[in-house]
Symmetry: C2
Subunit: 458 residues, 2 copies
């Protein structure tokens, strides 16, 4: 029986903890006549074990989970040499295959970075436990008592790219919120991830929590990832973390519900009524301060009334910081003779998340045109307006349909820690379940508990 | 360009409100060499118009939306004759094709029911508007002010079966929460739905709201439904309301995010420590009081220690109410000689939502076995325990992973109105976004608004 054939939970695969007396054990679990491929069997078995482990985690005491997290932090530090050595293999393979310097930087681990990862685990342990929080509740006129309580989602699948710190991050955020995690990291970080997951599982077992609560399916490669994405009923949610292509693949292939995170085609709009000095600082900060992350700006839109005054200044500063500029005709006119190198912007530029030192720049006739451009090209992550006009700010906030809308500040602030959410699972760019920076609460669901003394519906 | 090729929003189809100055109008919108079928073109055009209408609704004043809802209620009453006549065509077709009496009852409209539907619309108008609610907010140490604000989802697709009141219900719940609705009703109610949607659209236009905010795609049949389910980027969420097969089809076919609602394989477990009189009343109420709805019980599990005392009494009463009983061997033994007609329960019975006067009944050895049975077979809707043992109640609540867990009351209480949520969009049986009875807030997303005065990330 395929797990994807069942809505809700699968009937044959979800009873590993013991068949009930009323039902013949093993019924419905007969092997099908065509055997599934080995990778499918293996990945579904990993998911099944994670599901079983998730039941223990769901009712684990907060103190037990936190002890497990501290055990993981200690074990990572103790295994620093092993992890760094494994990471060196990944880096070496990356260099041999021509990996870019910025990707190598994201991939690289040294003792300092391992220690920082362990510290981040301890920070997560110190956060309030979201499980058990009573979200709302009431007593109904008939005496029924209702409470809506946070509960773990169950099994969280994470699909991500070449940053081995995400392996730890994803695992501990899932554990803290009472979930099991099935991890699929990028092949570029495979040696690092194998070592890290092994250390994490050992620490879990040593602290009395089920080792199967954290598992990697990296060894089954892309085929394994496909089976993870189809494990509806075993895996409760998939969280892809990475670039646009990764997210699109997961969204289009998954039958498991997906929370889209991460890719940001982020806009800064400089209004006619902007404080141009402030706008310049915001635009440069949004693009240059850390260009490799999803909340960095990718397109700058400037109102035509301030184009001549603003564009030569801001583009000179951006070019000086090494930013390649893709500009429309009116931008090129506005900076003509200023000695700033530009190339013509195409639709590709408006659509692209560069994740690097490149920027698309355009002139718009009005706030309406800025909003229309953003609606057309944005990924719905973060957009900023620079303006001192209250009505322009209000309209931008109301009409731009993105997870985060910023007035007179850098787009770089879109971040779980900066928002005070404690730890960040990712930045959701979708509208269901979670939108914007996701904290631990976004890795939970809720359950209604209804308590009565014989109330009947009449 | 297919709308399903874009993650987030489509680039070519989302700018119907005017191309921005910086981008050549129509770019990316060139017709493909192979023309899509007519139904696809038509359904996507309906969705596109709904998307445009949703922008007006998203920023409409609460008073304007409520005036629109009152206009709809008045128009429905004024069009009673037309609606009842259209409904009579549906009933006639249903009778000719052998539709069951209970389905005919769900389908039938008369003047009294139309008036009740209109009253329900006025009730929705009277509810608090969820849009604009500030869910949380703070001022960060650097002076950035954050607020997380409820915003509409955008376009809500509803796929449902033969109950024409759902057409109105779905439309007005979407409108009240600032969303446009694209409706796909069952073919059995097609004449009713066509008449109702026409009346609703007329009322919207007359009250100054966009008529395209409510649209039906019924005329394109099943093919139209498929295109609705693939309209990712134009439709923000699909809410199927109906039986298991409908929901499975939508879940498996959609690239649009889905909120599963409705089907309930609901369990009542009578513990060894139950008050048996109360348990009897609860079991009978849960099964018999309204067997055609999703919160009615479908399986009764009884602890072996009370099987002999409880089962003959409860099954006699259930049989007397006309309930067909599918029982396991130990139940048959417990009622042997009591003159109660039973048939053997199979796995099919444990898995089935009868939505009628049938019940599966089993004996379990322990609370553990009851929980294991429920984990295996439940749809995750509602499960109840009857017990006076605090530890049994606590364990059942903690270990049963369903949207609603009830202690010592009927499962029939799982309902948005009974929970005090005002109006019910459906009962979500999934874990993401909404779980259990969904109110208006569950048809919204949130947006973070960040306001500063030049804050940069350093």
């Amino acid at each position: 029986m395929s797990v994807t054939s069942a809505v809700g939970r699968p009937s044959s695969s979800d009873d590993a903890s013991g068949a009930p007396a009323a039902v013949p054990p093993g019924s419905g679990a007969a092997p099908s006549s065509t055997r599934p491929p080995a990778a499918e069997v293996a990945v579904l078995e990993v998911c099944r074990r994670a599901r079983e482990a998730s039941r223990a985690l769901a009712t684990a005491l907060p103190a037990a989970k936190d002890a497990g997290l501290h055990a993981i932090a200690d074990a990572l530090v103790a295994a620093t040499d092993r992890i760094v050595a494994a990471n060196a293999e990944d880096i070496e393979r990356g260099q041999a295959s021509g990996m870019s310097a910025s990707l190598q930087d994201r991939l690289r681990l040294d003792a300092r970075r391992v220690a920082a990862i362990a510290d981040a685990v301890r920070d997560v342990a110190a956060l309030p436990d979201p499980v058990g929080e009573v979200v709302r509740g009431s007593t109904r006129p008939n005496g029924l008592r209702l409470r809506q309580v946070r509960v773990p989602l169950g099994v969280v699948g994470m699909v991500y790219e070449a940053r081995p710190n995400v392996t730890v991050d994803a695992a501990v955020l899932a554990l803290k919120s009472g979930n099991a995690a099935v991890l699929r990291g990028g092949s570029a970080a495979m040696s690092s991830n194998v070592a890290i997951v092994d250390v994490v599982r050992g620490a879990l077992a040593a602290s009395g929590l089920p080792a199967d609560a954290v598992a990697s399916i990296d060894e089954w490669g892309r085929e394994g990832a496909v089976h993870l994405m189809r494990a509806r009923g075993l895996v409760d949610v998939l969280v892809p973390r990475g670039g646009q292509d990764l997210i699109r693949t997961v969204v289009e292939s998954s039958t498991v519900p997906v929370i889209e995170t991460g890719w940001g085609n982020v806009h800064v709009y400089v209004d006619a009524a902007a404080d141009l000095d402030q706008a310049l600082a915001i635009a440069v900060n949004a693009k240059v301060q850390r260009p490799s992350v999803c909340n960095a700006a990718e397109t700058l839109l400037v109102h035509r009334e301030v184009a001549a005054a603003f564009l030569p200044r801001v583009l000179r500063e951006l070019a000086g910081a090494g930013v390649a500029l893709h500009v429309d005709d009116r931008v090129r006119e506005a900076v003509a003779g200023a000695g700033i190198a530009t190339t013509p912007a195409t639709d590709h530029d408006w659509a692209t998340e560069y994740v690097g030192l490149e920027l698309a720049v355009g002139v718009v006739d009005s706030l309406d045109d800025a909003v229309a451009h953003i609606r057309r090209w944005s990924s719905g992550h973060t957009e900023a307006i620079c303006t001192l006009d209250v009505r322009a700010a209000d309209r931008f906030v109301a009409e731009v349909d993105s997870a985060v809308v910023v007035v007179n500040a850098s787009t770089r602030w879109t971040d779980g820690a900066e928002f005070g959410l404690g730890a960040e699972v990712g930045i959701s760019t979708q509208k269901l379940h979670a939108r914007g920076p996701m904290g631990l609460a976004e890795l939970t669901s809720t359950k209604w508990v209804v308590t009565g003394d014989g109330q009947l519906r009449g």
